[in-house]
C-alpha cells in the first residue's frame, strides 16, 4: 500500500520533535494535531436525543409554515401595520445571515489576503453559511404576502433598481443557489468519489479540472455578492428614516451592517469550530483558532472605529452617553463588542479554548444585537403600537434554526466538513459505530500542548 506508506511518512514528518525527518510545511507551524483537511465525523452516532429534539422542532416549524402558506398572515403572526416586519425578516434574515457570513469573512481572509492557515476551516464556514442563507430564504418565502408574484425577478425590465429590497431579492437567492452551492459542491462530489463505483470515480476525475478552472471566478462572485447584499440589508433601514433612533439611523448603516456581518462571520465560525470539536471529540488547532481570534479582534475594532466615527461625525456622541434607555442599550451593545476586541489582543486568551469560546460568543451577540435593534427595538412607527411575535411565529423562527442545526449535524457526519488531522482521514467514509473512546488514541488530550508554551 503505497498511499498509506506515504501517509505514515508524512505524519511522522509532521512531528516537530522528530528531527530526523524535518520536512518543511508551507503552511507555517507544524505539530501533530495540526488541522490538515476536512474529515467526516464517521465514528459518531447520528440519531442522538438532542438531534431528534431539534428535528421535532424543525418539523413543527415547517408544518406551521405550510399552514401559513394557505392562511392569512394576520392571525398567524403578531405583526401589524406599524410593525410590518416581524422576526422572520428582522431576526431570521436581517440578523442571522450575519452569522452566515463566515464564508465571506473567512473566504476573503484565506483567498484574497492569503491567510493560508484558514483554508482548512473553509468547509465549516461554507456549510454553516449555506444553511443560514437557505433557512433565511425559506423564512422570507413564507413571510411575503404575495409570493406568487416573485416571478418578476426573472423580468429585469420590471425591476426598480433604486430599491435595496430588489437588490436583496436578487442577490441573496443567487448567492445561495449559485455561489454557495458551488462552493459546497466539492465536499458532496468528494463523498461520491470515495464511496462510488469505478464509473463514478472516472467521471468525477474527468470533471475535476473544469471545476478547478472556474473555481477562482466563482469564489470572486461568492465574495462580491454578499458584500453587496449584506450592505443592502443595512441599506433597507435607511428609508425608515426618523422612525429609527438616531443612535442607529445613519448613512453608514450599510457599511456597519457589512462590518457586523464580517465580525459575526468570524466569531460564529470560531464558536462553531470550538463547540463541534468538543461535541465530536476533535483535537483543536491552536494556530488556526488563534488566527481566527486575532482577525476577530481586528474586525471588532474596525466595527467600533466606524461606529464611533459615525457618531462623532453626526454629532450624536452625546446621546450615546446620555444614560437614558437608548444610551444604555447602545453601551450594552458596544460593551459586547469591545470586550472581545480588547481581550483577544492577548495571545493567552486567544489560545485558551474556553476564553476564545466566550469571546467569540460575545462578539457574535454584540453583532447580532447591533443588527437587530434598529429593526424592532429602536424602531418607533409614527403611531403607537406594540409588536411581540405570536406563538406560531416564534415556533416557525425556531423551526428554521433547528432545521439548520439538524442539517449541520448530518453534514458533519456524512461529509468531510470539520477539520481534522491527516491521520484521521478514511478513504471509505465508513459509516460505522465505534465507542467514542476509540476516536482518540490513549493518553492524547483534546488540546495538544502548544509549541509556543513548552
Amino acid at each position: 500500500m503505497n498511499t498509506s506508506n506515504n501517509l505514515r511518512k508524512y505524519i511522522s514528518s509532521l512531528n516537530r520533535h522528530d528531527s530526523s525527518s524535518s520536512t518543511h510545511d508551507e503552511r507555517g507551524s507544524t505539530f501533530v494535531n495540526h488541522w490538515q483537511r476536512g474529515v467526516p465525523a464517521y465514528r459518531e452516532p447520528v440519531m442522538t436525543p438532542a438531534l431528534l429534539f431539534f428535528a421535532a422542532l424543525a418539523a413543527v416549524g415547517l408544518t406551521l409554515a405550510l399552514v401559513r402558506f394557505v392562511s392569512p398572515l394576520g392571525p398567524f403572526s403578531g405583526m401589524n401595520d406599524a410593525y410590518a416586519w416581524g422576526i422572520w425578516k428582522s431576526f431570521n434574515v436581517l440578523t442571522l445571515t450575519a452569522l452566515g457570513s463566515g464564508p465571506l469573512a473567512v473566504g476573503i481572509a484565506a483567498w484574497v489576503f492569503n491567510r493560508t492557515k484558514l483554508h482548512v476551516i473553509m468547509r465549516t464556514a461554507l456549510v454553516s453559511g449555506f444553511l443560514f442563507y437557505t433557512t433565511g430564504l425559506v423564512a422570507l418565502g413564507f413571510d411575503v404576502g404575495r409570493a406568487w408574484n416573485f416571478y418578476n425577478i426573472l423580468l429585469p425590465w420590471r425591476w426598480n433598481t433604486h430599491s435595496a429590497m430588489l437588490e436583496i431579492s436578487f442577490c441573496m437567492p443567487v448567492y445561495a443557489a449559485v455561489f454557495l452551492a458551488f462552493e459546497n459542491l466539492p465536499l458532496v462530489l468528494e463523498r461520491f468519489y470515495y464511496t462510488g463505483t469505478d464509473a463514478t470515480k472516472a467521471f468525477l476525475r474527468k470533471c475535476a479540472p473544469s471545476l478547478r478552472r472556474i473555481y477562482p471566478f466563482m469564489i470572486t462572485g461568492a465574495y462580491l455578492f454578499p458584500l453587496m447584499h449584506q450592505s443592502s440589508l443595512g441599506g433597507l433601514l435607511l428609508l425608515a428614516g426618523d422612525k429609527i433612533n438616531p443612535l442607529w439611523q445613519t448613512p453608514f448603516l450599510p457599511l456597519l451592517y457589512l462590518l457586523a456581518a464580517g465580525m459575526c462571520g468570524l466569531g460564529f465560525v470560531t464558536f462553531l469550530l470550538l463547540i463541534s470539536c468538543l461535541r465530536y471529540s476533535r483535537p483543536l488547532d491552536v494556530d488556526v483558532l488563534g488566527e481566527l481570534g486575532n482577525l476577530l479582534s481586528g474586525g471588532c475594532f474596525l466595527f467600533l472605529a466606524v461606529r464611533f466615527g459615525d457618531l462623532v461625525w453626526r454629532g450624536q456622541l452625546h446621546s450615546a452617553f446620555a444614560f437614558d434607555k437608548w444610551s444604555f442599550l447602545f453601551l450594552f451593545e458596544t460593551a459586547l463588542i469591545l470586550v472581545p476586541a480588547v481581550a483577544l489582543r492577548s495571545k493567552l486568551i486567544r489560545e485558551t479554548p474556553r476564553s476564545l469560546l466566550h469571546m467569540a460568543s460575545l462578539a457574535c451577540l454584540g453583532g447580532l444585537l447591533y443588527r437587530f435593534i434598529p429593526t424592532t427595538i429602536a424602531f418607533a412607527p409614527a403611531h403607537k403600537a406594540v409588536y411581540f411575535p405570536s406563538l406560531p411565529e416564534l415556533l416557525m423562527a425556531i423551526g428554521y434554526i433547528s432545521l439548520g442545526i439538524v442539517a449541520f449535524a448530518l453534514a458533519v457526519k456524512y461529509f468531510a466538513v470539520l477539520p481534522g488531522g491527516v491521520e484521521d482521514w478514511n478513504h471509505m467514509f465508513r459509516v460505522v459505530r465505534l465507542p467514542r473512546a476509540a476516536s482518540r488514541a490513549k493518553g492524547e488530550t483534546l488540546w495538544p500542548a502548544s509549541p509556543s508554551t513548552p
Partner: protein, 312 residues
C-alpha cells in the same frame, strides 16, 4: 513564494482605480433621480385641507368608501356603522379628532396618502408595484406586488396598510381616485363631496398659493404660519393648514430632505452602471487569481507528499 504582480493584474488594478475615479466624477454630474428637494411638476394635482373649516361631518369617508368599493369598518360599532380607529385595510381616508388634554378645544384632521413628490414607498418597492403616476398620484399595482411590506416600513406618514386577514392580501392606500375619477376628468371623491370646502382639489402650485393667501389674510389663525407638506419629506402633494400643532393631529415632524435621496445618495453612485461591483470584482478577482495560481502550483507536490487529494 512569488508575490510579483503580473502585467495583467497591474492592468486590472489600474482599470479598477480608473473606474472608481471616473465613477465618482461622472455620476453626480448626471441628472439626479432622487434630488434632496424635488420640484413639483406644473401639472401635479393636490389637495388642500384646512382644519379650521372642517366640521367633521365625515361625508368624505363615505364618498371614499363608495368610490373605492371599500367595506365599512364596523368592528367597534358592533356591525352598525363605519367607525375605523385609523387608516386601515378597509379605510383609505379618515377624519380624526384631536382633543386638548384639558378640554380647551379640539381639532379635526383628514388623513390619507400624502402623495409625496419623491415617495419613500415608491423608492423602496422592489418591482415598482407602487408607482408615481400621471399628475403625481401614487398608485398600487397588484400584479407586481410581492407583499414584502417595505412600503409600510418606509412611509414616514404610516399610510400604506396591508390586508393581514386575507390569503391574497392587497396594499390599501389612497390612490387619489386615479383610475376611477382623475382619468375621467373628475376630482377625487373626498374633495368632490366636501360640503364646507375644508378639503379642496386643484393644481399644487395654485393650492400652495391659496394656502399662503389664507395665512396672509389671518396670520394668527394658523400654526407656525406655514403650510404642512410644502417641504416635509421633500414636499407632498397633499397640503395642510392647521390651528393646532401638526404633531398633535398626527402629522409627524419631518426634515425637508426626501427619504429617497437620503437612502440612495451613496448607493446610486456605487451602483451607477454597476461600476462599483465591477471594480470590486476586478480587484478581488486579481488577488484571488494570484493566490489560486500559487495554490495550484504547490498542489501536485503536496498531494504527492500526503498521498491525499487536495480538498477545496
Amino acid at each position: 513564494m512569488n508575490s510579483e504582480i503580473t502585467r495583467r493584474q497591474a492592468l486590472l488594478g489600474i482599470l479598477g482605480l480608473g473606474g472608481t475615479v471616473a465613477g465618482t466624477l461622472v455620476a453626480p454630474a448626471a441628472a439626479e433621480e432622487h434630488p434632496a428637494h424635488p420640484v413639483a411638476p406644473p401639472d401635479a394635482v393636490s389637495m388642500l385641507y384646512d382644519n379650521t373649516i372642517c366640521t367633521g361631518c365625515r361625508a368624505c369617508m363615505m364618498a371614499c368608501n363608495d368610490a373605492n368599493g371599500l367595506p365599512s369598518d364596523t368592528l367597534l360599532s358592533g356591525g352598525l356603522w363605519d367607525t375605523p380607529t385609523g387608516l386601515n385595510s378597509k379605510t383609505k381616508n379618515i377624519i380624526q379628532c384631536y382633543e386638548e388634554p384639558n378640554g380647551a378645544g379640539f381639532a379635526y384632521v383628514k388623513r390619507q396618502c400624502m402623495h409625496c413628490l419623491d415617495p419613500a414607498c415608491v423608492t423602496g418597492c422592489p418591482f415598482g408595484a407602487l408607482k408615481k403616476n400621471e399628475w403625481g398620484a401614487v398608485t398600487w399595482d397588484g400584479s407586481l406586488c410581492i407583499g414584502c411590506r417595505y412600503c409600510e416600513v418606509a412611509c414616514p406618514f404610516d399610510v400604506p396598510k396591508f390586508e393581514w386577514d386575507h390569503w391574497n392580501p392587497k396594499i390599501v392606500k389612497c390612490e387619489f381616485c386615479f383610475e376611477q375619477r382623475l382619468k375621467e376628468n373628475q376630482q377625487p371623491a373626498c374633495t368632490g363631496v366636501c360640503p364646507t370646502g375644508a378639503v379642496i382639489f386643484g393644481k399644487r402650485v395654485d393650492l400652495l398659493a391659496k394656502a399662503k393667501e389664507r395665512i396672509a389674510a389671518s396670520p394668527d389663525k394658523y400654526f407656525e404660519k406655514r403650510v404642512y407638506g410644502e417641504h416635509e419629506a421633500g414636499g407632498t402633494q397633499v397640503l395642510y393648514l392647521s390651528n393646532v400643532a401638526f404633531e398633535k393631529i398626527g402629522l409627524p415632524k419631518l426634515g425637508s430632505t426626501s427619504l429617497g435621496h437620503y437612502a440612495t445618495k451613496v448607493t446610486s453612485v456605487i451602483y451607477k452602471w454597476l461600476s462599483g461591483p465591477i471594480v470590486v470584482a476586478g480587484i478581488l478577482g486579481a488577488m484571488i487569481k494570484r493566490n489560486w495560481d500559487r495554490h495550484e502550483a504547490e498542489r501536485p507536490e503536496r498531494e504527492k507528499q500526503t498521498g491525499l487529494q487536495d480538498q477545496l
